[in-house]
Amino acid sequence: MRTILYILQKEFIQVFRNRTMLPMIFFIPILQMLILVFAATNDLKNVNIYIVDNDLSSASRKLTDKFQASPFFRITQTGFSPDDAEDALKREKVDMVISIPEKFEADLRRDDEAQIQLIINAINQSKAELIYNYANNILQGYNKNLIAEWKGLPEFNPPKQIKVQPSFWFNSELDYKWYMAPGILAILVTIIGMFLSGMNLVREKELGTIEQLNVTPIKKYQFIVGKLIPFVFIALFDLAFGLTIARLAFDLPIVGSLPLLFGFATLYLVGALGLGLFISTLADTQQQVMFVSFFFMMVFILMGGIFTPVENMPTWAQYLDRLNPIYYFMRIMRNVVLKGSGFTDLTTEFASLIVIGITFLSLAIWRYRKTT
């Protein structure tokens, strides 16, 4: 135990004496929270639409007004030529084209039925679906009004129908930043912890100081634990720092218990850093550690459900995710921060992280060789 304390003392002195370390510890969280969270937003706002109104009737104007009044849409162009509209769509000037044909109102009055055309840029499929859903909502509202108006029913006493009143729990304002911030923070602590610890260990190999340690009676677990703990602390500090920034910059609500969150984060970091240290016991240079760690990070992050919901992945990918520490930590972060989940809600995550942590840490200790 004493030995570990001496190792920790040495590591902390070295970390704080390193000129590139402090800027990294402070700069990375600020950058990630203030730039990435905003950049990674999927908020649907300001959908530009092109309206081709060839009817110019009161009915078509009312429809146009409805879109105009929606906070999601912005009519940026109007015209009469479908070709111009398509061209604007192709050049990505607009996200959607609404085409109202001639005799729109006349058809409505005569046949109780008329057609309009929506053309949506679906390069981003999920965005296109959202646009369609919002547009559809507006059209249904418009329909309802028409029926009420023309059939002589008062608008506020509409024909019987099922009315959907959505209520969005845990992120009632559907603020995408609130959804992304815990995810970005999960990435942050992983980068900080995994890279710094892995690079630190392999740096001793590069400098040759590890050889001097290997002729001492130092125990393998003491060495690995001594390399692990300082970076767990640094990563936890960055988690706290990142949460503070998120709280100040975009009012991220922190519903759950902070001690619980940090407890889980510690557990998660033991696994993530264990992997980083394991990689560095296999590598000889910092470049190798960077390259291999980066590969794992990419896979973990992209599969971890930060940007895309895991439920939408194929079943085999969902099974693979059971091995992915970020997947669990991601769920913990979002559930504790946004929903206020307690320990009993997260026992699966707890058990999984324990298994992953023990596995990676044992691998690192096993693979660290004092005698080659």
Partner: protein, 248 residues
């Protein structure tokens, strides 16, 4: 060397890296309190043999004991009883002298009071009392090497391994370094030193000369000079090394 108690015994040590034989059936003993020189051209296999004795490298075959402990099974016990100074300079450059000492002594389990006492003695001897809080990086190479040597001795090991300890420093600093080596030997420590400076070979009690992974000669410098009919160790070495294949 009146009492010849072996502290290192090596029988038929073989170390292969793939098909390359770095150590080819080495046999020797090192006695307590002697300065044992391990000579050879670059690539002759000196460092490999030393790393095996320190427990950094596993031998391919052979029987070896260091300080009475078996190299295969009692590596950690050996490590408690040896000091090692590698070719690659190995104190932490970004720590001060005091911090380096505190760290290494901590690993050997030396208590604080004992450490402070030994540290004061050591710095006084090296005349570095005023530099104790300076970073290693800011010190000249000769000082660093003396420090590394002193740190290797700090936990009072019975055997000290020095791998080309004086590479790259001037003759005066080298001579001073050897004074420290004599001092340690006088205290009863066994010194195992590799070098390719032939004047340093003269300072050793016994010298072994490695050529192509084999020990081609092993005796006191006087006897070797007689045996090879040479005026100094340099001539002995040249006569032996002429037939080498693996020199760089």
């Amino acid at each position: 060397m009146n009492q010849q108690i072996p502290v290192i015994t090596v029988r038929n040590l073989v170390k292969k890296f793939g098909s390359f034989v770095a150590n080819d059936h080495l046999n020797f003993e090192v006695y307590k309190g002697e300065i044992f020189g391990f000579l050879g051209a670059n690539g002759a296999g000196k460092t490999t043999a030393m790393r095996i004795l320190c427990g950094l490298l596993a031998p391919t075959s052979g029987e070896l004991t260091v300080g009475g402990y078996d190299v295969y099974t009692q590596t950690e016990l050996i490590k408690k009883n040896i000091g090692y100074m590698s070719q690659k300079f190995s104190l932490y450059e970004d720590l001060t002298i005091s911090e380096n000492i505190r760290f290494y002594t901590g690993i050997y389990g030396i208590r604080r009071n004992e450490r402070l006492k030994r540290e004061a003695d050591m710095l006084k001897k090296l005349n570095l009392e005023n530099e104790r809080n300076k970073l290693i990086a800011s010190l000249p190479l000769g000082w660093k090497q003396k420090l590394a040597f002193s740190v290797a001795l700090f936990h009072n090991p019975q055997i000290v391994f020095l791998d080309e300890p004086t590479g790259g420093v001037d003759p005066i600093t080298r001579r001073q370094f050897w004074d420290h080596i004599y001092e340690a030997a006088a205290e009863g420590k066994t010194i195992f030193v590799t070098t390719h400076y032939m004047d340093e070979a003269e300072y050793c009690d016994r010298v072994s000369i490695m050529v192509d992974g084999r020990i081609d000669a092993l005796d006191t410098p006087e006897n070797l000079k007689k045996q090879f009919n040479a005026a100094n160790m340099e001539q002995v070495f040249l006569k032996l090394a002429r037939g080498a294949k693996n020199t760089e």
